[in-house]
Subunit: 243 residues, 2 copies
Amino acid sequence: MGGLHGVFFSPLDGSPRKASGGATACNPQMSAPVPLSEALRLVVITDRRLAAPRPVEEVVARALEAGARCVQLRDKTATPRSLLGQAERLRGLTRRWGALLFVNDRFDIALAAEADGVHLGPEDLPVAAVRRATPPGFLIGYSTDVPEKARAAQDEGADYIGCGAVFPTATKADAGQAIGVEGLRRVVEAVDVPVVGIGGITPQNAPGVVQGSGAAGVAVVGAVMGAPDVAEAVRALLAAFRP
Amino acid sequence: MGGLHGVFFSPLDGSPRKASGGATACNPQMSAPVPLSEALRLVVITDRRLAAPRPVEEVVARALEAGARCVQLRDKTATPRSLLGQAERLRGLTRRWGALLFVNDRFDIALAAEADGVHLGPEDLPVAAVRRATPPGFLIGYSTDVPEKARAAQDEGADYIGCGAVFPTATKADAGQAIGVEGLRRVVEAVDVPVVGIGGITPQNAPGVVQGSGAAGVAVVGAVMGAPDVAEAVRALLAAFRP
């Protein structure tokens, strides 16, 4: 697989894309970032344990080659230094594909690694505080399955909402009761920013989630990190967006 | 004690100070910040356990009234939200006295609370990465007792060095072997930025530490947080700087 070098492909249909923009012109291995709403079609959340014995970076590289354009670094047990190292490696990979990189919880790590944004939960710093403390253009995602809280987060400056668990899931112990596609739809209808469904999403149920809720995309942990064939899983998940 | 309101006192000699500068003019309860080298004469590091049953904020308020002009919020067990709440309350207190506020470890909390800076250790994010990711004027402290590492931290952008343990201490389990006043002096001589001695500092040994090492100041946890009479402890520690 020489996909990380050479010709660039546009994020979603595989057609060749020309290098453009300052950074891209200086470094032929970088692609211009895709728009947020496109990138969010599939959010690949990292999990070292599920990726093993493969390094997370290897799984992410395969997912990017297959068309994923958004990666969220999540590692609750890493030291700050180790988390920064992971974020920097993922930043290198995502830049080559014009993909967005988010860091879970900590915007200091995100800023230090030049990630595109941070993903916050209810236990993390409030969206408004993070918005005030970060530079213009820094992206903020916020997790909630409550329509009113999603609206409030949007009003505080959240750029997208992560909403779930849509289905029961084993990868997040504190995910609460599943809200179903209908619960996701209620959050989608409550806000103007993109909403990403999370929790128990598979290539099989993804089309029903997207079409039944109007969500901008799906976020997955196990469906990509644990996939024996990462490229196949990513292509199957992205196929939910085909007309 | 009405010291948090009304007339302002200059940081070190207790003489009245006139309000000046934009922010101060708008809010009569704010003093202009003191210069870093002055503020660092005494760094009051918080410790909820040692302050108990008094709230940390009460101990800090008394320390500020008595002349302390630098506070470092340290709480390794608090959630991010709780840490931000503490930082915001300490920001309110320190602003009234023109005192500097640092947050230990996490510059995201520091930025969100509008603290003056962050204090980093060897396990935290590298100084250079934090320098790149934070706005101009944001202050960075770095802990080391190795002259070469202190020099490297200065070159990466550290504004001051915390150095110790000077004496054996019970408040930091991972402080390593005590370096003594001589060890502190070696670090002072290795850098141009201010160096603050930490570890087992008391009102009794502080004059010897300062005069024997040339350190810009001392940082204390127990000597203030655990003091039955906080004001007395602070005045006694600051007296180490009297000619």
